[in-house]
């Protein structure tokens, strides 16, 4: 099982990630002079959430050929589910001091908690919702789309429409989820103050662990016989049907797993950045995820994670430096990679390394 899940590239990546998981908290909390500044810890945790989101998209796009342009929606739903718990954990410490209602509800003259907020005071319930809500949306959406054999560009367009519709819905104040301000001003999670370095370091470790788990689960799926069937669906869908596989069920399975993974990424993202708002549903966000995966190397899992980290890092550096050019830089990166690195950054690096290596079998 170990050999099946951990090939060379996965081994190297997970080892690097593990070293970071240990080094970052130690460098931030336990060393004099704080070689790892606190803002960097939060930033890196955010990158790892994006990396997990990228892996979830690669699972459906890279291996089953389902190009979702709406994966940001699953991420945002996971984020909102966690955000609702964090809001309830504020309790009476809000600006208005209402024992039950979050500030924005007091402001909007709510007299009771809407029914769908019930239960979110319980952390485990919230965690369950983090996977169930995106999973359920993916299930309903996928069931309708795959059963009607919607594929290719048409599927991409309706996933994009899905996230757009959700964005508009979440912008509305009447929905009871904070309107365009979203959910914010969180105080703590499970009693740990979100403003402290140790909580931030803890979130970083959780993000790294979730990314590791996401990679291993994805790898388990893609190296199984089901993974091969998915590649079959990607290559020749009707052939797969005539062999006797009900393709819609297989697509639905990975789509739901992938959506849940994206939801987990969003749930960790919310306490890390301290806010979740409807902007996360914006179509542009979902398209950016596709760019991460393409840039890192579609169908490689590890490449998707690396792509997300590279782009997010570039975004941080560039927007701090000359914000106006960020979108051009992103578009430019995408074009250059598509033209010159058909297998993404990871593919290019591996090809270069293989040239210097005595001939040995390579893992695919």
């Amino acid at each position: 099982m170990f050999n099946r899940l951990i090939d060379r590239r996965m081994g190297i990546f997970l080892f690097g990630l593990f070293v970071l998981t240990v080094a970052v908290p130690v460098g931030n909390l336990a060393m004099s002079g704080q070689p790892v500044p606190s803002y960097a810890v939060a930033l890196m945790a955010k990158y790892l959430c994006y990396a997990l989101l990228a892996v979830s998209l690669d699972l459906v796009w890279g291996f089953a050929g389902i190009l979702s342009l709406g994966h940001g929606a699953f991420f945002a739903l996971g984020g909102y589910a966690m955000g609702m718990h964090l809001m309830r954990e504020i309790g009476p410490r809000g600006v208005y001091g209402d024992p039950l209602l979050p500030d924005f509800m007091v402001f909007l003259n709510y007299d009771a908690l809407p029914w769908f907020w019930l239960g979110f005071d319980n952390f485990l319930f919230a965690v369950l919702m983090v996977v169930l809500v995106p999973g359920l949306l993916a299930f309903v959406f996928g069931w309708l789309a795959f059963r009607s054999r919607v594929t290719g560009v048409y599927l991409s367009i309706i996933t994009q429409a899905m996230t757009y519709a959700l964005m508009l819905t979440f912008f509305r104040n009447e929905l009871g989820l904070g309107g365009n301000n979203g959910l914010t001003d969180f105080k703590d999670v499970l009693g740990f103050n979100l403003q402290t370095d140790s909580t931030r370091a803890g979130l970083f470790v959780i993000a790294a662990t979730a990314l590791t788990a996401g990679l291993l689960i994805s790898r388990f799926i893609t190296t199984s016989k089901l993974g091969k069937v998915l590649v079959g669906v990607r290559d020749a869908e009707s052939r797969t049907r005539f062999i006797g596989y009900r393709v819609e069920g297989f697509k639905l399975f990975v789509f739901v797993i992938s959506a849940m993974m994206a939801g987990v990424a969003g749930a960790i993202y919310t306490p890390v950045v301290g806010i979740i708002n409807p902007g996360e549903f914006s179509p542009a966000n979902s398209i950016e995820i596709v760019i991460w995966v393409a840039l890192g190397g579609r169908g490689t899992l590890v490449g998707a994670a690396i792509g997300a980290i590279i782009v997010a890092l570039a975004k941080t550096l560039l927007t701090g430096w000359i914000p106006e050019i960020w979108l051009f830089a992103l578009g430019g990166m995408f074009v250059l990679v598509t033209l010159f690195l058909p297998h993404g950054v990871l593919g290019a690096v591996e090809n270069t390394l293989n040239k210097f290596r005595p001939k040995k079998e390579t893992t695919v």
């Binding site: 016989k225 091969k228 590649v231 079959g232 006797g244 009900r246 399975f253």
Partner: protein
Amino acid sequence: MTSQLYLSGVSCSFDGFKAINNLSMVIQKGELHAVIGPNGAGKTTMMDIITGKTRPDEGEVFWNETVDLTKIDEAGSAQLGIGRKFQKPTVFETLTVEDNIAIALKADRGVLATLFDRQTKKQAKKITELLELVRLNDDRARMAADLSHGQKQWLEIGMLLAQDPELLLVDEPAAGMTDAETMRTADLLKSIAGERSVVVVEHDMEFVRALNCKVTVLHQGSVLAEGTLDHVSAMPEVIEVYLGR
């Protein structure tokens, strides 16, 4: 003896054009049966109807005299035991030759069963046997995309046999093959028949002659003639259809 496949009065039209017109045909168990006919005669459409890809407008299609094939989908027909080779060879290009056979191998087709499947020794042996039969054992680790056209045809036949079907529908298997390969394909199909039923669509008359079996001539969506190849090719209406196009 019960029939393997029974078509009666089947019609199917696309935008008013009758691709299949009151077609009736019976395939016996274990029979090798060739279907010929000019381009557009409806041969491929007939296979689409049998495998649930296309629904007929009217008529009956029965499997083993009991199962109504007009009510099932492609995956359902495969699970019943119908294997189909496409006119255009279709294999999984980015899987290895071996994996192409492995996922076609008869097994539980459920999602979870497939996820947790682990290949048994028996299955591994079966895969090697099939690869040897279609002469691709030396290429088993190659990507299917790298095979020649003829080799892809053979791989697809291998995948078909891996499903362990009762009936094989083989659409133009000899296209793109050398003469020697064509004759080997004919021999292979003949050796398969008996144990399984085989329906072959082909334009190559040398190939059909080599099959040495019952022939049905299709024209404009219905049966024009039936019998041995010598018998049908001597019939004036068949000659006219073939020369008149």
